[in-house]
Symmetry: C2
Subunit: 316 residues, 2 copies
Protein backbone atom coordinates (compact mmCIF):
# COMPACT_ATOMS: atom_id res chain seq x y z
CA UNK A 1 0.00 0.00 0.00
CA UNK A 2 1.25 3.49 -0.80
CA UNK A 3 2.52 5.34 2.28
CA UNK A 4 0.81 8.69 2.84
CA UNK A 5 1.78 11.52 5.17
CA UNK A 6 0.70 15.07 5.87
CA UNK A 7 3.19 17.84 5.24
CA UNK A 8 2.75 21.24 6.90
CA UNK A 9 4.79 24.24 5.82
CA UNK A 10 4.25 26.56 8.79
CA UNK A 11 5.01 30.16 7.85
CA UNK A 12 4.74 33.45 9.69
CA UNK A 13 1.99 34.57 7.27
CA UNK A 14 0.46 31.48 5.73
CA UNK A 15 0.49 27.77 6.35
CA UNK A 16 0.44 25.23 3.53
CA UNK A 17 -0.90 21.76 4.24
CA UNK A 18 -0.90 18.77 1.93
CA UNK A 19 -1.42 15.02 1.82
CA UNK A 20 1.73 13.63 0.23
CA UNK A 21 2.55 10.17 -1.11
CA UNK A 22 5.90 8.41 -0.92
CA UNK A 23 6.87 9.47 -4.44
CA UNK A 24 6.26 13.14 -3.59
CA UNK A 25 2.86 13.35 -5.26
CA UNK A 26 0.49 15.78 -3.51
CA UNK A 27 -2.97 14.18 -3.30
CA UNK A 28 -4.70 17.25 -1.92
CA UNK A 29 -3.55 20.57 -0.49
CA UNK A 30 -4.80 23.68 1.24
CA UNK A 31 -3.37 27.06 2.18
CA UNK A 32 -4.64 28.82 5.29
CA UNK A 33 -3.61 32.08 6.97
CA UNK A 34 -1.43 31.38 10.03
CA UNK A 35 -2.63 34.39 12.10
CA UNK A 36 0.12 34.07 14.70
CA UNK A 37 -1.40 36.95 16.70
CA UNK A 38 -4.39 34.79 17.63
CA UNK A 39 -2.14 32.59 19.78
CA UNK A 40 -0.53 29.24 19.29
CA UNK A 41 -3.47 27.14 20.53
CA UNK A 42 -5.84 28.74 18.03
CA UNK A 43 -3.30 28.35 15.24
CA UNK A 44 -2.83 24.64 15.94
CA UNK A 45 -6.58 24.04 16.29
CA UNK A 46 -7.13 25.68 12.89
CA UNK A 47 -4.43 23.52 11.36
CA UNK A 48 -6.15 20.45 12.84
CA UNK A 49 -9.44 21.48 11.22
CA UNK A 50 -7.76 22.01 7.87
CA UNK A 51 -6.22 18.52 8.08
CA UNK A 52 -9.65 17.06 8.75
CA UNK A 53 -11.13 18.85 5.77
CA UNK A 54 -8.31 17.60 3.53
CA UNK A 55 -8.87 14.01 4.68
CA UNK A 56 -12.62 14.26 4.10
CA UNK A 57 -12.17 15.84 0.66
CA UNK A 58 -9.78 13.12 -0.45
CA UNK A 59 -11.72 10.28 1.16
CA UNK A 60 -8.71 9.14 3.19
CA UNK A 61 -9.09 7.85 6.73
CA UNK A 62 -6.70 9.42 9.28
CA UNK A 63 -5.59 5.88 10.19
CA UNK A 64 -4.06 5.58 6.74
CA UNK A 65 -1.76 8.54 7.45
CA UNK A 66 1.55 7.37 8.89
CA UNK A 67 2.50 10.74 10.28
CA UNK A 68 2.46 14.51 10.13
CA UNK A 69 5.62 16.46 9.35
CA UNK A 70 5.88 20.15 10.19
CA UNK A 71 8.55 22.44 8.78
CA UNK A 72 8.67 25.34 11.19
CA UNK A 73 10.75 28.49 11.32
CA UNK A 74 13.24 28.72 14.21
CA UNK A 75 15.18 26.30 16.36
CA UNK A 76 13.39 23.05 17.05
CA UNK A 77 14.00 20.24 19.52
CA UNK A 78 13.17 17.53 17.02
CA UNK A 79 13.17 14.74 19.62
CA UNK A 80 10.15 16.24 21.34
CA UNK A 81 8.82 18.43 18.51
CA UNK A 82 9.14 21.53 20.69
CA UNK A 83 9.75 25.01 19.28
CA UNK A 84 12.83 26.24 21.16
CA UNK A 85 13.05 29.69 19.66
CA UNK A 86 11.55 31.31 16.57
CA UNK A 87 11.78 34.99 15.62
CA UNK A 88 8.77 34.57 13.28
CA UNK A 89 6.60 32.84 15.88
CA UNK A 90 6.94 35.04 18.94
CA UNK A 91 5.83 33.45 22.24
CA UNK A 92 6.07 29.94 20.73
CA UNK A 93 9.34 29.39 22.66
CA UNK A 94 9.07 26.15 24.59
CA UNK A 95 5.77 25.26 22.84
CA UNK A 96 5.22 21.51 22.44
CA UNK A 97 3.93 21.81 18.87
CA UNK A 98 4.16 18.10 18.01
CA UNK A 99 2.42 17.05 21.23
CA UNK A 100 -0.49 19.45 20.70
CA UNK A 101 -0.92 18.57 17.03
CA UNK A 102 -0.94 14.88 18.04
CA UNK A 103 -3.69 15.56 20.60
CA UNK A 104 -5.76 17.48 18.05
CA UNK A 105 -5.37 14.99 15.17
CA UNK A 106 -4.51 11.66 16.78
CA UNK A 107 -1.66 11.35 14.25
CA UNK A 108 2.01 10.96 15.17
CA UNK A 109 3.78 14.27 14.48
CA UNK A 110 7.39 15.27 13.76
CA UNK A 111 8.68 18.85 13.66
CA UNK A 112 11.85 20.18 12.07
CA UNK A 113 13.29 23.55 11.31
CA UNK A 114 12.14 24.64 7.82
CA UNK A 115 15.66 24.63 6.37
CA UNK A 116 16.19 21.09 7.63
CA UNK A 117 12.86 20.22 6.08
CA UNK A 118 14.11 21.72 2.80
CA UNK A 119 17.17 19.45 2.65
CA UNK A 120 15.11 16.42 3.71
CA UNK A 121 12.79 17.25 0.81
CA UNK A 122 15.81 17.16 -1.52
CA UNK A 123 16.90 13.86 0.04
CA UNK A 124 13.41 12.36 -0.45
CA UNK A 125 12.27 13.88 -3.75
CA UNK A 126 14.98 16.09 -5.24
CA UNK A 127 17.32 15.80 -8.19
CA UNK A 128 19.91 14.01 -6.00
CA UNK A 129 17.40 11.87 -4.12
CA UNK A 130 19.02 9.56 -1.60
CA UNK A 131 22.40 11.31 -1.50
CA UNK A 132 24.06 10.76 1.89
CA UNK A 133 26.04 14.01 1.82
CA UNK A 134 24.10 17.18 0.97
CA UNK A 135 24.13 20.80 2.05
CA UNK A 136 21.00 22.89 1.55
CA UNK A 137 20.68 26.67 1.69
CA UNK A 138 17.36 28.49 1.63
CA UNK A 139 17.69 32.07 0.50
CA UNK A 140 14.65 34.09 1.52
CA UNK A 141 13.93 36.79 4.11
CA UNK A 142 16.73 35.06 6.03
CA UNK A 143 19.24 32.39 5.05
CA UNK A 144 18.57 28.89 6.38
CA UNK A 145 20.79 25.86 6.30
CA UNK A 146 20.26 22.12 6.41
CA UNK A 147 22.87 19.39 6.25
CA UNK A 148 22.73 15.67 5.63
CA UNK A 149 26.07 14.05 6.39
CA UNK A 150 26.70 10.30 6.27
CA UNK A 151 22.95 9.91 5.70
CA UNK A 152 22.06 11.70 8.94
CA UNK A 153 20.22 15.00 9.27
CA UNK A 154 22.79 16.95 11.24
CA UNK A 155 21.15 18.96 14.00
CA UNK A 156 23.83 18.92 16.71
CA UNK A 157 23.57 18.29 20.42
CA UNK A 158 20.53 20.48 21.15
CA UNK A 159 18.98 20.72 17.68
CA UNK A 160 20.46 24.17 17.02
CA UNK A 161 22.97 23.01 14.40
CA UNK A 162 22.97 23.77 10.69
CA UNK A 163 22.67 27.54 11.23
CA UNK A 164 24.68 28.08 8.06
CA UNK A 165 23.16 31.52 7.51
CA UNK A 166 24.85 32.79 10.65
CA UNK A 167 28.34 31.72 9.76
CA UNK A 168 30.48 34.80 9.22
CA UNK A 169 31.94 35.52 5.80
CA UNK A 170 32.97 39.17 6.27
CA UNK A 171 33.93 39.94 9.88
CA UNK A 172 33.84 43.68 9.10
CA UNK A 173 30.66 43.38 7.02
CA UNK A 174 27.13 44.69 7.62
CA UNK A 175 25.38 44.05 10.93
CA UNK A 176 23.13 41.00 10.92
CA UNK A 177 19.77 40.66 12.65
CA UNK A 178 21.54 38.31 15.09
CA UNK A 179 23.91 41.06 16.24
CA UNK A 180 27.08 39.79 14.55
CA UNK A 181 28.76 41.39 11.56
CA UNK A 182 28.95 39.91 8.10
CA UNK A 183 26.94 36.72 8.57
CA UNK A 184 25.97 35.08 5.28
CA UNK A 185 22.39 36.19 6.06
CA UNK A 186 23.56 39.83 6.33
CA UNK A 187 24.89 39.65 2.77
CA UNK A 188 22.79 37.22 0.76
CA UNK A 189 19.24 37.24 2.15
CA UNK A 190 16.41 39.25 0.57
CA UNK A 191 16.60 41.55 3.58
CA UNK A 192 20.34 42.11 3.00
CA UNK A 193 19.83 42.79 -0.68
CA UNK A 194 17.11 45.35 0.06
CA UNK A 195 19.27 47.02 2.74
CA UNK A 196 22.21 47.23 0.38
CA UNK A 197 20.00 48.69 -2.36
CA UNK A 198 18.80 51.39 0.07
CA UNK A 199 22.41 52.25 0.96
CA UNK A 200 23.20 52.57 -2.74
CA UNK A 201 20.29 54.93 -3.43
CA UNK A 202 22.39 58.06 -2.77
CA UNK A 203 25.31 56.95 -4.88
CA UNK A 204 23.25 55.55 -7.75
CA UNK A 205 20.01 57.60 -7.75
CA UNK A 206 19.43 56.87 -11.47
CA UNK A 207 19.56 53.10 -10.95
CA UNK A 208 16.46 51.39 -12.35
CA UNK A 209 16.09 49.76 -8.92
CA UNK A 210 14.68 53.01 -7.60
CA UNK A 211 12.26 53.44 -10.49
CA UNK A 212 10.33 50.49 -9.07
CA UNK A 213 7.46 51.23 -6.64
CA UNK A 214 8.89 48.66 -4.22
CA UNK A 215 12.48 47.56 -3.69
CA UNK A 216 12.78 43.81 -3.36
CA UNK A 217 15.26 41.11 -4.31
CA UNK A 218 13.49 40.39 -7.61
CA UNK A 219 13.70 44.03 -8.66
CA UNK A 220 17.44 44.03 -7.93
CA UNK A 221 18.11 40.79 -9.84
CA UNK A 222 15.99 41.97 -12.77
CA UNK A 223 17.89 45.26 -12.90
CA UNK A 224 21.24 43.42 -12.74
CA UNK A 225 20.12 41.25 -15.66
CA UNK A 226 19.56 44.47 -17.64
CA UNK A 227 23.09 45.65 -16.81
CA UNK A 228 22.19 48.18 -14.10
CA UNK A 229 25.43 49.03 -12.25
CA UNK A 230 24.13 49.35 -8.67
CA UNK A 231 22.16 46.12 -9.04
CA UNK A 232 25.19 44.34 -10.51
CA UNK A 233 27.35 45.41 -7.56
CA UNK A 234 24.74 44.14 -5.11
CA UNK A 235 24.39 40.80 -6.88
CA UNK A 236 28.20 40.48 -7.08
CA UNK A 237 28.50 41.07 -3.35
CA UNK A 238 25.74 38.58 -2.48
CA UNK A 239 27.10 35.87 -4.79
CA UNK A 240 30.66 36.43 -3.49
CA UNK A 241 29.42 35.99 0.09
CA UNK A 242 27.63 32.81 -1.00
CA UNK A 243 30.77 31.53 -2.74
CA UNK A 244 32.89 32.10 0.38
CA UNK A 245 30.32 30.43 2.63
CA UNK A 246 29.74 27.51 0.27
CA UNK A 247 33.52 27.09 -0.07
CA UNK A 248 33.65 26.80 3.71
CA UNK A 249 30.83 24.24 3.76
CA UNK A 250 32.64 22.20 1.10
CA UNK A 251 35.80 22.08 3.24
CA UNK A 252 33.80 21.25 6.34
CA UNK A 253 31.36 18.65 4.96
CA UNK A 254 32.85 17.39 1.69
CA UNK A 255 29.28 17.11 0.36
CA UNK A 256 28.25 15.50 -2.92
CA UNK A 257 25.67 18.19 -3.58
CA UNK A 258 24.94 21.74 -2.54
CA UNK A 259 21.33 22.66 -3.31
CA UNK A 260 19.99 26.20 -3.13
CA UNK A 261 16.33 26.98 -2.62
CA UNK A 262 14.09 29.71 -1.25
CA UNK A 263 12.58 32.73 -3.00
CA UNK A 264 15.90 34.16 -4.17
CA UNK A 265 16.72 30.95 -6.03
CA UNK A 266 14.17 32.15 -8.63
CA UNK A 267 16.90 34.55 -9.78
CA UNK A 268 18.14 31.46 -11.61
CA UNK A 269 21.26 31.64 -13.78
CA UNK A 270 22.31 35.05 -12.53
CA UNK A 271 22.54 33.62 -9.01
CA UNK A 272 23.99 30.19 -9.69
CA UNK A 273 26.48 31.33 -12.33
CA UNK A 274 27.62 34.17 -10.07
CA UNK A 275 28.37 31.65 -7.34
CA UNK A 276 29.96 29.08 -9.65
CA UNK A 277 32.32 31.66 -11.18
CA UNK A 278 33.60 32.83 -7.81
CA UNK A 279 33.75 29.49 -6.00
CA UNK A 280 37.13 28.19 -7.31
CA UNK A 281 38.95 31.05 -5.52
CA UNK A 282 37.67 29.71 -2.20
CA UNK A 283 38.02 25.95 -2.60
CA UNK A 284 41.20 23.84 -2.46
CA UNK A 285 41.90 22.07 -5.73
CA UNK A 286 41.83 18.68 -3.97
CA UNK A 287 38.03 19.13 -3.77
CA UNK A 288 37.70 19.59 -7.55
CA UNK A 289 35.09 17.27 -8.98
CA UNK A 290 33.81 16.17 -5.56
CA UNK A 291 30.64 18.32 -5.53
CA UNK A 292 27.82 19.78 -7.58
CA UNK A 293 26.10 23.07 -6.88
CA UNK A 294 22.60 23.58 -8.22
CA UNK A 295 19.26 25.30 -7.68
CA UNK A 296 16.47 23.20 -6.23
CA UNK A 297 14.02 21.90 -8.81
CA UNK A 298 11.28 21.45 -6.19
CA UNK A 299 10.07 25.03 -6.28
CA UNK A 300 6.28 25.11 -6.27
CA UNK A 301 5.41 22.66 -3.50
CA UNK A 302 8.84 22.37 -1.84
CA UNK A 303 7.49 23.53 1.54
CA UNK A 304 4.79 20.86 1.75
CA UNK A 305 6.83 18.00 0.30
CA UNK A 306 9.84 18.98 2.45
CA UNK A 307 7.67 18.85 5.56
CA UNK A 308 6.24 15.51 4.43
CA UNK A 309 9.77 14.14 3.95
CA UNK A 310 10.44 14.64 7.69
CA UNK A 311 8.05 11.74 8.34
CA UNK A 312 9.61 9.55 5.65
CA UNK A 313 13.06 10.29 7.09
CA UNK A 314 12.09 9.65 10.71
CA UNK A 315 10.28 6.41 9.90
CA UNK A 316 12.81 5.09 7.38
CA UNK B 1 40.47 -9.74 28.49
CA UNK B 2 41.79 -6.22 28.02
CA UNK B 3 41.61 -5.06 24.40
CA UNK B 4 44.98 -3.92 23.03
CA UNK B 5 45.75 -2.03 19.84
CA UNK B 6 48.73 -0.39 18.20
CA UNK B 7 48.64 3.34 17.66
CA UNK B 8 50.94 4.97 15.09
CA UNK B 9 51.40 8.72 14.94
CA UNK B 10 52.93 9.10 11.48
CA UNK B 11 54.72 12.42 11.15
CA UNK B 12 56.80 14.04 8.43
CA UNK B 13 59.90 13.85 10.69
CA UNK B 14 59.31 11.17 13.28
CA UNK B 15 56.84 8.35 13.83
CA UNK B 16 55.62 7.38 17.29
CA UNK B 17 54.37 3.86 17.84
CA UNK B 18 52.75 2.44 20.96
CA UNK B 19 50.80 -0.52 22.28
CA UNK B 20 47.69 0.97 23.86
CA UNK B 21 45.04 -0.57 26.10
CA UNK B 22 41.32 0.22 26.10
CA UNK B 23 41.66 2.68 28.98
CA UNK B 24 44.33 4.66 27.11
CA UNK B 25 47.28 3.19 29.00
CA UNK B 26 50.42 2.88 26.86
CA UNK B 27 52.04 -0.51 27.55
CA UNK B 28 55.15 0.17 25.50
CA UNK B 29 56.20 2.82 22.98
CA UNK B 30 58.92 3.69 20.53
CA UNK B 31 59.85 6.72 18.43
CA UNK B 32 61.57 6.20 15.09
CA UNK B 33 62.64 8.63 12.37
CA UNK B 34 60.16 8.58 9.45
CA UNK B 35 62.75 9.32 6.71
CA UNK B 36 60.15 10.02 4.03
CA UNK B 37 62.89 10.50 1.44
CA UNK B 38 63.73 6.78 1.56
CA UNK B 39 60.38 5.96 -0.04
CA UNK B 40 57.07 4.74 1.28
CA UNK B 41 57.88 1.00 1.12
CA UNK B 42 61.00 1.43 3.24
CA UNK B 43 59.10 3.63 5.69
CA UNK B 44 56.33 1.06 6.14
CA UNK B 45 58.79 -1.82 6.42
CA UNK B 46 60.65 0.04 9.17
CA UNK B 47 57.35 0.68 11.00
CA UNK B 48 56.58 -3.05 10.74
CA UNK B 49 59.96 -3.88 12.31
CA UNK B 50 59.38 -1.40 15.13
CA UNK B 51 55.98 -2.98 15.84
CA UNK B 52 57.62 -6.42 16.05
CA UNK B 53 60.22 -5.12 18.48
CA UNK B 54 57.52 -3.55 20.66
CA UNK B 55 55.56 -6.81 20.75
CA UNK B 56 58.66 -8.83 21.65
CA UNK B 57 59.69 -6.33 24.35
CA UNK B 58 56.27 -6.42 25.96
CA UNK B 59 55.80 -10.19 25.55
CA UNK B 60 52.53 -9.71 23.65
CA UNK B 61 51.60 -11.98 20.75
CA UNK B 62 50.47 -10.15 17.59
CA UNK B 63 47.28 -12.25 17.69
CA UNK B 64 46.31 -10.43 20.88
CA UNK B 65 46.33 -7.08 19.02
CA UNK B 66 42.87 -6.30 17.65
CA UNK B 67 44.12 -3.72 15.17
CA UNK B 68 46.54 -1.01 14.15
CA UNK B 69 45.44 2.62 13.92
CA UNK B 70 47.47 5.14 11.96
CA UNK B 71 47.03 8.90 12.28
CA UNK B 72 48.48 10.28 9.06
CA UNK B 73 48.85 13.81 7.72
CA UNK B 74 46.77 14.63 4.65
CA UNK B 75 43.49 13.46 3.15
CA UNK B 76 42.76 9.80 3.72
CA UNK B 77 40.24 7.42 2.20
CA UNK B 78 39.46 5.74 5.48
CA UNK B 79 37.39 2.95 3.90
CA UNK B 80 40.47 1.58 2.15
CA UNK B 81 43.20 3.19 4.30
CA UNK B 82 44.65 4.91 1.24
CA UNK B 83 46.51 8.22 1.42
CA UNK B 84 44.73 10.45 -1.09
CA UNK B 85 46.90 13.51 -0.79
CA UNK B 86 49.41 14.70 1.79
CA UNK B 87 51.68 17.76 1.52
CA UNK B 88 53.99 16.28 4.21
CA UNK B 89 54.26 12.88 2.53
CA UNK B 90 55.03 13.69 -1.09
CA UNK B 91 54.51 10.83 -3.55
CA UNK B 92 52.28 8.99 -1.06
CA UNK B 93 49.20 10.03 -3.09
CA UNK B 94 47.15 6.95 -3.86
CA UNK B 95 49.32 4.78 -1.58
CA UNK B 96 47.42 1.89 0.05
CA UNK B 97 49.01 2.41 3.47
CA UNK B 98 46.61 0.17 5.40
CA UNK B 99 46.92 -2.68 2.90
CA UNK B 100 50.71 -2.63 2.99
CA UNK B 101 50.91 -2.39 6.78
CA UNK B 102 48.50 -5.33 6.98
CA UNK B 103 50.74 -7.37 4.67
CA UNK B 104 53.84 -6.52 6.71
CA UNK B 105 52.29 -7.13 10.16
CA UNK B 106 49.35 -9.47 9.58
CA UNK B 107 47.26 -7.13 11.73
CA UNK B 108 44.07 -5.37 10.56
CA UNK B 109 44.87 -1.71 9.98
CA UNK B 110 42.83 1.51 9.93
CA UNK B 111 44.10 4.90 8.77
CA UNK B 112 42.69 8.34 9.50
CA UNK B 113 43.80 11.89 9.00
CA UNK B 114 45.77 13.02 12.08
CA UNK B 115 43.23 15.69 13.05
CA UNK B 116 40.44 13.10 12.89
CA UNK B 117 42.63 10.87 15.00
CA UNK B 118 42.99 13.74 17.50
CA UNK B 119 39.22 14.11 18.00
CA UNK B 120 38.77 10.33 18.18
CA UNK B 121 41.41 10.36 20.93
CA UNK B 122 39.30 12.92 22.81
CA UNK B 123 36.21 10.77 22.23
CA UNK B 124 38.00 7.66 23.55
CA UNK B 125 40.20 9.03 26.33
CA UNK B 126 39.71 12.79 26.74
CA UNK B 127 38.05 14.99 29.33
CA UNK B 128 34.69 14.66 27.53
CA UNK B 129 35.06 10.97 26.70
CA UNK B 130 32.05 9.58 24.86
CA UNK B 131 30.55 12.92 23.83
CA UNK B 132 28.54 12.52 20.62
CA UNK B 133 29.09 16.11 19.44
CA UNK B 134 32.66 17.40 19.48
CA UNK B 135 34.80 19.65 17.33
CA UNK B 136 38.59 19.33 17.52
CA UNK B 137 41.18 21.76 16.24
CA UNK B 138 44.89 20.98 16.12
CA UNK B 139 47.02 24.10 16.02
CA UNK B 140 50.52 23.31 14.78
CA UNK B 141 52.46 23.96 11.58
CA UNK B 142 49.01 23.90 9.98
CA UNK B 143 45.50 23.89 11.45
CA UNK B 144 43.68 20.56 11.37
CA UNK B 145 40.06 19.82 12.14
CA UNK B 146 38.10 16.78 13.26
CA UNK B 147 34.40 16.55 13.96
CA UNK B 148 32.23 14.00 15.74
CA UNK B 149 28.56 14.73 15.12
CA UNK B 150 25.72 12.49 16.33
CA UNK B 151 28.42 10.03 17.42
CA UNK B 152 29.86 9.73 13.91
CA UNK B 153 33.32 10.81 12.77
CA UNK B 154 32.34 13.21 10.01
CA UNK B 155 34.56 12.74 6.99
CA UNK B 156 32.16 13.55 4.13
CA UNK B 157 31.54 11.78 0.88
CA UNK B 158 35.18 11.21 -0.17
CA UNK B 159 36.91 11.49 3.21
CA UNK B 160 38.03 15.06 2.59
CA UNK B 161 35.66 16.64 5.14
CA UNK B 162 36.57 18.34 8.40
CA UNK B 163 39.11 20.66 6.75
CA UNK B 164 38.27 23.30 9.34
CA UNK B 165 41.68 24.97 8.96
CA UNK B 166 40.80 25.95 5.40
CA UNK B 167 37.55 27.68 6.18
CA UNK B 168 37.91 31.37 5.47
CA UNK B 169 37.65 33.88 8.30
CA UNK B 170 39.11 36.98 6.60
CA UNK B 171 38.43 37.01 2.84
CA UNK B 172 40.95 39.85 2.44
CA UNK B 173 43.45 38.28 4.85
CA UNK B 174 46.91 36.80 4.28
CA UNK B 175 47.47 34.20 1.56
CA UNK B 176 47.27 30.62 2.77
CA UNK B 177 49.43 27.71 1.64
CA UNK B 178 46.32 26.40 -0.13
CA UNK B 179 46.09 29.50 -2.34
CA UNK B 180 43.05 31.12 -0.73
CA UNK B 181 43.13 34.24 1.39
CA UNK B 182 42.45 34.39 5.12
CA UNK B 183 41.92 30.71 5.91
CA UNK B 184 42.01 29.97 9.62
CA UNK B 185 45.36 28.26 8.95
CA UNK B 186 46.74 31.49 7.42
CA UNK B 187 46.00 33.32 10.68
CA UNK B 188 46.31 30.90 13.58
CA UNK B 189 48.90 28.24 12.68
CA UNK B 190 52.51 28.39 13.88
CA UNK B 191 53.47 29.21 10.28
CA UNK B 192 51.02 32.13 10.22
CA UNK B 193 52.28 33.46 13.55
CA UNK B 194 55.89 33.32 12.35
CA UNK B 195 54.96 35.02 9.06
CA UNK B 196 53.12 37.78 10.88
CA UNK B 197 56.06 38.28 13.25
CA UNK B 198 58.41 38.68 10.26
CA UNK B 199 56.06 41.28 8.74
CA UNK B 200 56.09 43.17 12.04
CA UNK B 201 59.89 43.24 12.27
CA UNK B 202 60.16 46.59 10.47
CA UNK B 203 57.47 48.32 12.45
CA UNK B 204 58.49 46.90 15.83
CA UNK B 205 62.28 46.31 15.56
CA UNK B 206 62.69 46.57 19.36
CA UNK B 207 60.15 43.82 20.04
CA UNK B 208 61.60 41.08 22.25
CA UNK B 209 60.48 38.62 19.56
CA UNK B 210 63.46 39.64 17.46
CA UNK B 211 65.93 39.32 20.33
CA UNK B 212 65.40 35.57 20.14
CA UNK B 213 67.79 33.52 17.96
CA UNK B 214 64.80 31.84 16.31
CA UNK B 215 61.28 33.16 15.73
CA UNK B 216 58.64 30.58 16.56
CA UNK B 217 55.14 30.52 18.03
CA UNK B 218 56.43 29.91 21.56
CA UNK B 219 58.68 32.98 21.38
CA UNK B 220 55.71 35.09 20.27
CA UNK B 221 53.37 33.80 23.00
CA UNK B 222 56.09 34.22 25.64
CA UNK B 223 56.71 37.80 24.51
CA UNK B 224 52.97 38.55 24.56
CA UNK B 225 52.81 37.21 28.11
CA UNK B 226 55.48 39.77 29.05
CA UNK B 227 53.43 42.56 27.47
CA UNK B 228 55.38 42.96 24.22
CA UNK B 229 53.22 45.04 21.85
CA UNK B 230 54.00 43.32 18.52
CA UNK B 231 53.54 39.89 20.11
CA UNK B 232 50.26 40.99 21.70
CA UNK B 233 48.93 42.20 18.34
CA UNK B 234 49.84 38.88 16.72
CA UNK B 235 48.21 36.84 19.49
CA UNK B 236 45.11 39.07 19.34
CA UNK B 237 44.83 38.51 15.60
CA UNK B 238 45.27 34.74 15.87
CA UNK B 239 42.79 34.39 18.74
CA UNK B 240 40.26 36.62 16.94
CA UNK B 241 40.52 34.40 13.84
CA UNK B 242 40.02 31.35 16.06
CA UNK B 243 37.01 32.97 17.74
CA UNK B 244 35.37 33.73 14.38
CA UNK B 245 36.03 30.22 13.07
CA UNK B 246 34.92 28.52 16.28
CA UNK B 247 31.78 30.70 16.30
CA UNK B 248 31.07 29.40 12.81
CA UNK B 249 31.62 25.78 13.88
CA UNK B 250 29.25 26.31 16.83
CA UNK B 251 26.51 27.55 14.46
CA UNK B 252 27.17 24.73 12.04
CA UNK B 253 27.56 21.77 14.43
CA UNK B 254 25.99 22.85 17.73
CA UNK B 255 28.70 20.80 19.49
CA UNK B 256 28.87 20.04 23.20
CA UNK B 257 32.61 20.52 23.29
CA UNK B 258 35.29 22.26 21.28
CA UNK B 259 38.72 20.89 22.14
CA UNK B 260 41.97 22.51 21.01
CA UNK B 261 45.22 20.59 20.72
CA UNK B 262 48.50 20.71 18.82
CA UNK B 263 51.77 22.44 19.72
CA UNK B 264 50.24 25.91 19.99
CA UNK B 265 47.80 24.73 22.64
CA UNK B 266 50.82 24.79 25.00
CA UNK B 267 50.36 28.59 25.02
CA UNK B 268 47.68 27.74 27.57
CA UNK B 269 45.64 30.50 29.21
CA UNK B 270 46.83 33.20 26.84
CA UNK B 271 45.35 31.24 23.95
CA UNK B 272 42.16 29.91 25.49
CA UNK B 273 41.27 33.12 27.34
CA UNK B 274 41.91 35.17 24.21
CA UNK B 275 39.44 32.98 22.32
CA UNK B 276 36.87 32.87 25.11
CA UNK B 277 36.86 36.68 25.49
CA UNK B 278 36.22 37.26 21.79
CA UNK B 279 33.81 34.42 21.11
CA UNK B 280 30.54 36.02 22.35
CA UNK B 281 30.74 38.65 19.58
CA UNK B 282 30.49 35.85 17.00
CA UNK B 283 27.89 33.51 18.52
CA UNK B 284 24.11 33.97 18.68
CA UNK B 285 22.81 34.18 22.24
CA UNK B 286 20.54 31.17 21.63
CA UNK B 287 23.73 29.04 21.73
CA UNK B 288 24.70 30.33 25.19
CA UNK B 289 25.41 27.50 27.57
CA UNK B 290 25.32 24.85 24.84
CA UNK B 291 29.09 24.36 24.51
CA UNK B 292 32.42 24.26 26.31
CA UNK B 293 35.73 25.30 24.83
CA UNK B 294 38.91 23.86 26.33
CA UNK B 295 42.47 22.82 25.66
CA UNK B 296 43.14 19.10 25.27
CA UNK B 297 44.50 17.47 28.39
CA UNK B 298 46.01 14.58 26.38
CA UNK B 299 49.22 16.37 25.51
CA UNK B 300 52.20 14.04 25.88
CA UNK B 301 50.98 10.89 24.15
CA UNK B 302 47.99 12.33 22.27
CA UNK B 303 49.35 11.24 18.89
CA UNK B 304 49.72 7.57 19.82
CA UNK B 305 46.51 7.29 21.86
CA UNK B 306 44.58 9.21 19.19
CA UNK B 307 45.80 6.78 16.53
CA UNK B 308 44.92 3.86 18.80
CA UNK B 309 41.41 5.25 19.28
CA UNK B 310 40.78 4.87 15.52
CA UNK B 311 40.71 1.09 16.07
CA UNK B 312 38.45 1.35 19.12
CA UNK B 313 36.10 3.61 17.13
CA UNK B 314 36.02 1.41 14.02
CA UNK B 315 35.47 -1.79 16.00
CA UNK B 316 32.99 -0.35 18.51
Amino acid sequence: MVRRVIGIDLGGTETKIGIVEEDGKIVEKKVIPTRVSEGRTTVVTRIGEAINELLVQSGIDSKQIIGIGVGSPGSIDHDTGTVLFSPNLPDWSGFGLAAMLERVTGIRTFVENDANSFILGEWAFGEFKGSQHMVGLTLGTGVGGGVITHGILMTGSKGYGGELGHTIVEPEGPVCGCGSHGCLEALASATAIINLAREYSKRFPQSTIFASPEINAKVVFDAAREGDLAATLIVERATRALAIAIGNFIHVFNPEHIVIGGGISRAGDLLINGIREKLPAFVMTSFNGTFSITLSKLVENAGITGAASIVFYRTS
